[in-house]
Symmetry: C3
Subunit: 152 residues, 3 copies
Amino acid sequence: MADLMNSDVFLAFCTYATIVILKMMFMAPLTGYFRFTRKAFSNWEDTAMSKNPEARKKMLQTNPDVERVRRCHLNDLENIIPFVVIGLLYALTGPDLSTALLHFRVFVGSRFIHTASYVLALPQPSRGLSWVVGMITTFSMAYRVLTTALYL
Amino acid sequence: MADLMNSDVFLAFCTYATIVILKMMFMAPLTGYFRFTRKAFSNWEDTAMSKNPEARKKMLQTNPDVERVRRCHLNDLENIIPFVVIGLLYALTGPDLSTALLHFRVFVGSRFIHTASYVLALPQPSRGLSWVVGMITTFSMAYRVLTTALYL
Amino acid sequence: MADLMNSDVFLAFCTYATIVILKMMFMAPLTGYFRFTRKAFSNWEDTAMSKNPEARKKMLQTNPDVERVRRCHLNDLENIIPFVVIGLLYALTGPDLSTALLHFRVFVGSRFIHTASYVLALPQPSRGLSWVVGMITTFSMAYRVLTTALYL
């Protein structure tokens, strides 16, 4: 156990993986914020702040801002979790510290830019580019895992 | 390899992570159950139990019960996977066994309560509270990971 | 660190986990392909290839082909991530190499068949069966984790 934690690459992985997972988790309160300010809920029991059944029914709506944050959250799940899984295996293949740090930093940076581009609806290709950069980083780590640890 | 499995904290992590992942996987057959009993499918090829094209078209509907279980499943993905990732790194930082068990038990308990609150549509704040408790548990573990293993 | 990578079971896990995660990531460009060929987008800023506001509004539509690939992607998240988490813990319990390879190969094969069945809309039960086979494989690994490493 202590062995893993003596490796700088593994410590760096722990740090960046935790940061990017926390970023992903932050999308949930952000969804909640938009749900409350836009009064747009999915569940009947979530509208109990109003006593008027008509008003409650109206709150069961979809709202473009809420849906935008939800799409961003789902995109995080689709990209950040592969990074964490492949990044963990990559860290175990013993890469150079500087190469590993480059991968981790580029990925985490790209996801922060992606979230900003998505939530603020910045013009393309800001969101598309940040997504592609994250994908390429993960592919590059997967390439090293497959060339170092291939056992079919 | 044997080293990790000699650590009680790591064994506890394996146990609770497996239990809560199995709980998450259980949402899939539950969705299937509601799809079949409510006759609400998303894919044309899933409606082949009927030979009548009109009846098949009607089965391509959304149903509130199915959507509720699907939202619960997605919420599980958004919360349980961060727990598993951060919990794994947390277990590797060598916390006290009793502190680690507390984190794992509170999180897993909160997610079972969350699922019951969601699927049975219990009045708020049962679902909201159980969700917040799970988030706080994960944040607490992330805090330890970042303070123990920080390498930027 | 080197210890883990000296285990054939762990190397096999790295290989199959990376392959199946790459397969999951491939769903994202596939969604993009269908979005562009079907002209069906979710975000206003994604429709900027047209200058005509009327044409752009029309592109903000849902398309059955896009939705099908997105459902397949979500199903991957719901099934492949549990496999990766439980498979990692399973690999650490020190199973026989041949048993482990059987689990990994059956799971990864079942998910490729699942994706083909879903995207090509093959008649049931091809998709249902491949999904069940993947679930059973993951359950079987979870059973070994819980019987080997139980610490409640």
